[in-house]
Structure formats: C-alpha cells, structure tokens
C-alpha cells in the first residue's frame, strides 16, 4: 500500500467534486494500492491543513454552510510551499490572460517536488513548455486530462491506448455550452439570443458567456492538444477562432435541408489550429447533441477513433482528475 498525501488547491465546483469522488472511491483506490489522504484544502479565503488527513465530509459541509473551508490564514501557494505532501490537485479558476494563481501554484509545486494534476486550462494554454520543463526538472508528473473534454478521455487515450500511432488530426466539439445552444436553436426554432438566455437560466452558460460562445475556451483546449499530442509550441495567438454568435436560425435550417447540422468544431493538425462553426453530416459520429463533447482522432494505424462524453460537471471533471492520480501511482 502506497501512502499518498494530496492537497486540493481551489475548492469551487471541481475541487468539491474531487473531494466527493475521493470520499466515494477511497476503497477502490486502496484496492489499487493507493492510500490517499487529503492533508490540505485551500480556497480563496484560506485553508484547512491536517497532516493526519482531513475529514472530507466535514470540509464539504463547512464549505456549503459558510462558503469557505478556511481555518488557517494560508493561501494555496503557502500550502504548496509549507505543507509536506506528494501531489497538488490544482482546481483554481482558469485565467486565460496571465495563467493567474494556477500558474503560480503549479510552478511552486514543481519547485517543492510535488506532482500536479489539474483541470485548469489557462496555465497549460499559456505556458505549456515551461511547465513541462519544470516538471521534468523536478522529476514529477504534470497531468491534465481534465482540461480537455471533462470526463471524455482524449489526452490519455492518445498517450496510452493509441501509443505508437501517428496522430494526423483531432477534430471535435470541445465546448458543451456552444453545443447546447446550437442544438436547442434547431430543436426550438429559436434565435441564438433566446437559447443563450435559456442556457444561462439553466446554468449551462455563464453570465458573461464570451469565453464559451466566442470560441476562446475551445481554442485553449486546442492549444493544449497541439502541445501535448502534436508536440507543438503553440499559444492562443496561433489559433484561428470564430465563435457561434453569428450563427442564424435560418442557416441551421438551410443546413438541415442539406442533411447537415452546424457545430462549433475545434480542429488540430500539424499546420492548422482552427475553431469555427462547421457543417457536420447529421449521421456523422461528430453530430452529437445537447451538452456532449466529442472528438475524432485520426491516426495512421488505427484509422479514426471517436470518443464522446460529458465535457463539464464537477463529478465528471473529478473523474478525469481521479484517473490521472491513479495513473501516477499505478506504475
């Protein structure tokens, strides 16, 4: 049995999802030889530290009741630097301008010899190369399956299962909010504005939906795929981005008459990174509806492999984080 001490840095929806999943899956982890204790949880107001292992149920309850887990006046960075542990689960909100606190946390984690498992896209989309180098230098792992497609396996699928294949392209729907809006426009014969409002009411779109509907979120995921799968040194500026805000109901109807649906598709190839609304044949595997994500990986040996799954949600994202944690310790 391997004793693993972890911190959860960032205790919003994803961080709490991780805590719930760890509570539920403690026995499964033990059966894989991993005895995991969360020794610190940090949110924006402070932290709880307990080297004997935090009572996750109590921490979740306190967060729900008081809006914070804070007991000690420590930041996430303080925890990473001062609390002795093995793995940092980095789930702070993403900052696509500078990488924000997430970037600081990841750099600190490697500096102090800790593995990083994260759902935070910003730092990876901005500073992938630097982070990988820092991880290598520290001889620690940086795993980020949760950053692309939530529960849908894509990075690990390519790295492990499709090992040995040359990857020619990845094409898919990587943003559930856009997929929901486009799907509902067609179902309800309603305008973009109406269906955006509906998805905001349901909590599928943010109050400021720019990040999703302008294709920025998809573009960040493409950068992560380009860097991790295609070994590029791409940044957001390299992506040709068009969002869905100009897609009209009439265009969806015209597409439907020709046997197509319109989807916001992200496309990664050696020489092209592009996010744009595209025509997808209604019977094609990429034509999934609702908030689903989907990706087709085109390879030289295996042909085209398509995966689909839930791209967001706290438990779904936590599932990807859990599989990354297991993959560090099962080897």
């Amino acid at each position: 049995m391997r004793k693993v001490r972890a911190s959860i840095i960032g205790f919003g929806s994803v961080g709490q999802g991780v805590a719930e999943v760890l509570l539920k899956k403690g026995d499964e982890l033990k059966s894989l030889g991993i005895d995991l204790d969360v020794v610190a949880i940090a949110d924006s107001k402070g932290a709880e530290v307990n080297l004997a292992g935090i009572d996750l149920k109590a921490a979740l309850g306190r967060k729900r009741e008081f809006g914070t887990v804070a007991i000690d006046n420590l930041t996430g960075e303080d925890v990473i630097k001062s609390v002795d542990h093995d793995i940092v689960i980095e789930t702070t909100p993403t900052d696509i301008e500078t990488g924000g606190i997430g970037l600081v946390n990841m750099v600190a984690a490697f500096e102090f010899g800790r593995h990083v498992v994260t759902s935070n896209k910003g730092p990876l989309a901005l500073k992938y190369r630097e982070l990988v180098e820092a991880a290598n230098e520290a001889d620690r792992k940086l795993l980020f399956e949760a950053t692309v497609g939530g529960a849908m396996p894509i990075i690990n699928l390519v790295r492990d299962t499709l090992a040995g294949n040359e990857i020619l392209s990845v094409e898919g729907i990587l943003n559930g909010t856009c997929n929901y809006i486009l799907t509902r426009m067609m179902e309800e014969h309603a305008s973009y504005e109406q269906m955006l409002a509906e998805s905001q009411e349901l909590g599928i779109a943010e109050t400021d939906p720019t990040y999703d509907v302008e294709g920025i979120d998809t573009a960040c995921k493409l950068v992560i795929l380009a860097n991790s799968i295609f070994n590029q040194d791409a940044t957001y500026q390299d992506v040709d981005v068009t969002g869905i805000t100009k897609v009209t109901l009439e265009s969806l109807s015209l597409a439907y008459d020709e046997g197509y649906v319109i989807k916001l598709i992200g496309e990664v190839k050696k020489d092209r990174l592009r996010v744009s609304p595209r025509l997808v044949p209604a019977s094609h595997p990429l034509a999934v509806g609702g908030t689903l994500n989907v990706a087709s990986v085109c390879t030289d040996l295996a042909g085209t492999i398509t995966v689909t799954g839930r791209g967001a949600g706290s438990i779904e994202t936590a599932s990807a984080i859990l599989s990354d944690i297991v993959s560090i310790y099962k080897d």
């Binding site: 265009s251 015209l254 597409a255 008459d257 609304p277 595209r278 025509l279």
Partner: protein, 168 residues
Amino acid sequence: MRVSMDIELKDTPGQLLLALNPISELKGNLKSIVHHHEERTPRSTIPVQLVFEIEPANLEVLIGRLEENGIGVARVDEKRFTAHGAVLLIGHIVHTDIQDTIDTIDKTGFAEVVNISLSMPQIDMRSSASLKIDAVGKNELHEAISVLRQVAIKKDLLVIEPIEAEIS
C-alpha cells in the same frame, strides 16, 4: 475528370491490352472495366465499358491513340465534376454583391456554384445562404472553398464549411 467510355474490340488476342495501354500511358486511372466477351455488336466486335479518371486535356489524345490502335470508340461520356460540397454563408449576402461572390468560384475554371438557397428573414437582418459547389476534384473543391473564404473576409460574411472528413 471521370470518363465513362464504350469501346469495341476485335475478337483477336491482345485487343484489350491495346485499349488499356494508352490510358495508363496518359496517366489515366482505371476505375472499372466490364468486358462482355459473350456478346457481339452487329459489327461482330466485343463491347467493353470503361470508367476512368483522366486529365481533361488528355481525353482527345486518348481517343486518337485508341483509334490508331484499331479500337472503336462508340460512346464517350465525360463527367467534369467529381467532387461536390455544400457551404453556408451568413451576413449581408445580397447587398455585398451575390453575383460577384458566385463569380469568384465560377471564374476558377475548376469549380462552379450549382445551387443556392437564400433565406432573408428581414431587411437589415443578416441573411443566410447555402451554396452547393461542384469541382473537378477534391483538391479543387478545397481550393474553391478557400477562395470563397478570402472573398467572405472582405465582405464580412461568415463561411460555414464542411468538416474535414466531408471533403477529403
């Protein structure tokens, strides 16, 4: 372009080879061959149906060589466009000179707009159109869409292209 051709062979050995050699010499790509050995034309020749891809410029040369070889060419049916694609446009399509937009494709010589459906909900609102484009080959279809993309940038139109798998 794709050509389907009916030819007539004399019933002597080596005739089929005389018909096929010129196609490969002219870098044609044979797609199918149906050889009715048991049938006879009224001229006592054997009818054969060929389908192949060939550069348009080489078709006349090919017919010449076949006739030189004593092969009768009974019917030639060329199909100029083998690739078909659909594209959507969104924006002020009519007011930015729709004729000019279509012309940029038609002028390429290797692709044509063969159908257009237009939806204009209200004056001053953006309209949507679906265009069907035929091209002599898949590369040309790609090229035609890329030409359209350039024009669309100038006219502030959004082009919605098919996914890669649809046109490759």
